[in-house]
Symmetry: D2
Subunit: 334 residues, 4 copies
């Protein structure tokens, strides 16, 4: 019997989920909800689903699961309500922009009997997942130094930046989760620097567009994350882990495997444009993992705890960058 | 309104087509036909289609198009019958093992008012398609020398080899079509060598498992195709075109972008396993192209003529390899 | 007329210089000096040079230039004496382990009429030099974020570590100079973390073996340097510069261009073993640059000022790592 | 005691030898000979050697070895005379343009007690040598299919082409020797096609500028060589060997390891310009191998027999290309 799914949010990421829900042989897209009625209608129509209001969704006992792809400030409320209604939940990152609110949400939902999974899509990318398996299999011995390069192709509008919670909460949060995924534990302390060298207007809005965060772990290991809001050549998503016996790397995925050699040099294709292309397969695997957690009654691979942890790292980094000093995770977690 | 499609053949390649037909918003998989009833039922069931006999399909005026994924020796008969019934046709390669029969089929179907397209999937691979566009755009000036490397991961069973028509008709036919696609015309003459160095049993069955074919063109250009039935590292599919101003290449697609550096060297992932994986996207694009040809009433991108031409090159190569002399295409086309 | 050169120090790096001095058509290796007489004799004998004491070298007016490849704690004294004697000088890095002493040496030698060049060999590597030219040519627009990966193949003996001045002064000093070379100015502030995860004995000796330093520049640009004393796969020397219009990278140089594809993956050769192999060409170019500075009476490409600056960055990083806070360069430069 | 060497021929390749002879600690460049006195004088002067006439060289019993880097039509005569004079010989390829003359030279010199080595430099390239070792070590199991890509950066002047003996003798002869080096035996039969698509004037001069030769071996193995006189992107020198357990490849050596990623793609450096750059190390190793053969009294790694064999393959290919039929090696060897 197919899992009956309601989608909240018909934006860019909601559309990805709609396609994967409808295209999977074990799930059915029952409804789409969005404050913009036309967006909800168009997306619902494409997959033969209904348009429903959030209240209707929550009240409809035939709906098994909801996917939350709405604006960030609604995530916590919706998760709490959905738990109340007994639904399984897949929620887009972050839990909230406020760490306090996120922790409250975690507390309020911790007794849910249905799975609650956070949408850190990159964990499901076959390349990163393969790297993590190789680490776990001891291919490089003991891990020592993690390095994440994560550049967006182009900065978002300043209007978006203003309500985004800042680069650390909005963009680097994915990399914080990736660090947790690969290092297997949270860091003790973070040290962040950031500036607005891409676009001064981002700086005027109180945010940074280029940042480096160094993290230290209890056992002496170190991780470093580099973010930029702009990479003229495309979406740059690379990871390296140095261990006692070697180095594991994930390189970018190129648009094609074509190369052109002329007197001007040997030119290969750029990386995939952005996350919708780069992580297309990751979203499919993420959906599968969510369905598996429901049907097998196994723990979700990414929990609200994971979401709260990444958010705490973002909060600590924001503070560290602003005050020019290392910040312990403990101090922000309270 | 969706194009209503009947699938003939529920084997490995039929399953690929079924998924793409059913997954496309403009087509509907109406029926599946196979001599093995259980195979037809299973595949039909998966996509909510019916099981129908070939005669029923041809007689059903509600069916717009048929996809022929049956054994090779049925292709010509089915195409002729489907043209008679007014259906659009996508037929797997080759047209036939007999060039004479293929030419007869071409003659018999040449007045069809509905599209007839041959399933040379590689033309639709985004990488090869991009290379061809780059050639057409003059990125390497005038083309001079084409080189195709095409190795299967492992040889088929000898029982298959015996009824396959031989390596040139069964395997290299894809590369002949690729050469035609990239060079824009047929060669004048082919010169083939082949041997059974992978598996002597293939030689005892009268076939070769390793072969090189050199082709010459009217304007002096040259193409060379290398085939092997075995590449221990996976499916090796590469193309290079040398032109007056440079070289265009398509490299293999690796399973992941992970690499592992240890004292033993830097190890990257193998190429995709085989055609189902390597050409997954190509089959999707192929289906789109077929639907486009139907709805836009434009010429199909790969015609029966193309199929006959590739078959003639295979026939000439088989003869050349057996007799140790160059063979002109004209001599086999008659 | 050939430049007559005296070499002080017949160790590993002295041997590299001896070969390049003797092998150049415009220079002559006149003498070799070393506290180990047998080492001096062997090296001198190989190139037809004499063994001389330091005092003899300084007193010999026929000697034009000296190359200082002795232990670090002699560098400043030797440079001052050589300036006194009117010699041109090529001195291995660092100027001194003590920033104070290095600054005194700078002051004492600043009026030298003969060139004094510091041996930051990496600036002369054709790859890094080419990257810098591309930056200067505006190939990536305005630079924003520099990233240096610099891993040694294996940690030195703990006995060496104890007298090395620590990782930041001994190893990362090369990367500090590379940052200055590529960013075109000194950073305002450094923030360092380090630990001994490779070898606890290094930690017990009061040093670190793994470290990350983040540097901020007056205009908001950021640089990050990663160091490890151990890379099981060889000497890892990579640089990336992100700019407003793209990314410039220097990849490792592999021992061979051979690759092996088997069922186990596609394996390429490891990077060059260590600096003697990786920077062989850089040392040759460095020697050429020194001869050019002498004969053309042009400024040396790497000055004592550069050496003092890199040392100040090392001192600031040592302090930052120890005290867990960012340290401004101004505060250590005094 | 140093081997005393006389160099015959002060042209481009003679200059490479002069540098390596003079730069080696076990050999001394005694004299240079050239029909152009000024060329001989300049080169001799650079390395402190004398200018001598050929007769003087042969008569000078203090000279141990001669390097023959003169025009091809003098090679056989000079080798015979040098053997007569008891000299060790390193002779540039080919033995002669005439297979008959080469065979006569082989017969005339076969009793020489001093080493006679042919200058097939590519055998000494560390990359090809490493690939061959890997083949010999069974890294890919049993070899099945060899593929050589060998493109010059630009065609020579037509005047040169006219006296070159044609592409197969002048250019592909290196690749024939590489095939023998890697396959470990001579082919049974060759099948060649060639045309003048790069420059019609080359065709008018009776030669080809683009060619493919397929070779078959007694045990069924196959080799294919592709040559072009023009690769706009530089000197393209690649080799692949497919075996029962995998593929070994040698890729091009790039000028630098720098890459530039912009919106236009990811651009890497071109291959080395031409043989002087690409095979710089190979010439050094070749010279070492020659000195080793002299001092160790071991067989030379490349003999006149090897030179005659490669020439026979060139002759067979020339014939095959002209007559459009496979030609056995036996038929030309007589």
């Amino acid at each position: 019997m197919k899992t009956r799914v309601a989608l909240l949010g018909a934006g860019r990421i909601g559309q990805v989920h709609a396609k994967n829900i409808a295209g999977h042989s074990s799930s059915e897209l029952v409804s789409v909800t969005d404050v913009f009625a036309s967006a909800a209608e168009e997306l619902a129509g494409k997959y033969g689903a209904k348009v429903m209001a959030t209240e209707e969704v929550l009240a409809d006992s035939s709906i098994d699961a909801i996917v939350i792809a709405t604006p960030t400030d609604t995530h916590s409320d919706l998760m709490e309500a959905a738990v109340e209604a007994g639904k399984s939940i897949l929620c887009e990152k972050p839990v909230d922009l406020s760490l306090k609110r996120a922790k409250a949400c975690l507390a309020a939902t911790k007794d849910s009997r249905s799975p609650i999974m956070m949408g850190f899509n990159r964990r499901f990318d076959p390349n990163f997942a393969s790297l993590r398996t190789a680490v776990a299999d001891g291919k490089i011995g003991k891990t020592e130094l993690l390095s994440i390069t994560s550049f967006d192709p182009a900065p978002p509008p300043v209007s978006y930046v203003k309500s985004s919670g800042g680069l650390f909460r909005d963009m680097m949060i994915h990399d914080f989760d990736m660090a947790n995924f690969l290092m297997g534990e949270a860091p003790v302390s973070v040290s962040a620097v950031g500036s607005a060298v891409v676009d001064p207007a981002i700086g005027e809005a109180g945010d940074v567009d280029t940042a480096v965060v160094t993290m230290t772990y209890a056992d002496g290991r170190i991780a470093v994350i580099k973010n930029s809001r702009r990479a003229a050549y495309g979406y740059d998503q690379r990871v390296e882990v140095l261990g006692s016996e070697g180095l594991l790397s994930v390189e970018n995925i190129r648009k094609t495997s074509v190369s052109l050699a002329t007197a001007a040099g040997v030119t290969s294709a750029n990386p995939e444009d952005f996350f919708l292309e780069r992580y297309r397969n990751a979203y499919v695997s993420e959906w599968q993992a969510f369905l598996d957690a429901i049907s097998n009654e196994t723990p979700v691979p990414v929990s609200i705890e994971d979401g709260v942890l990444a958010l705490a790292m973002a909060e600590a980094s924001t503070l560290s960058s602003a005050e020019g000093r290392p910040v312990t995770l403990e101090s922000v977690m309270g």
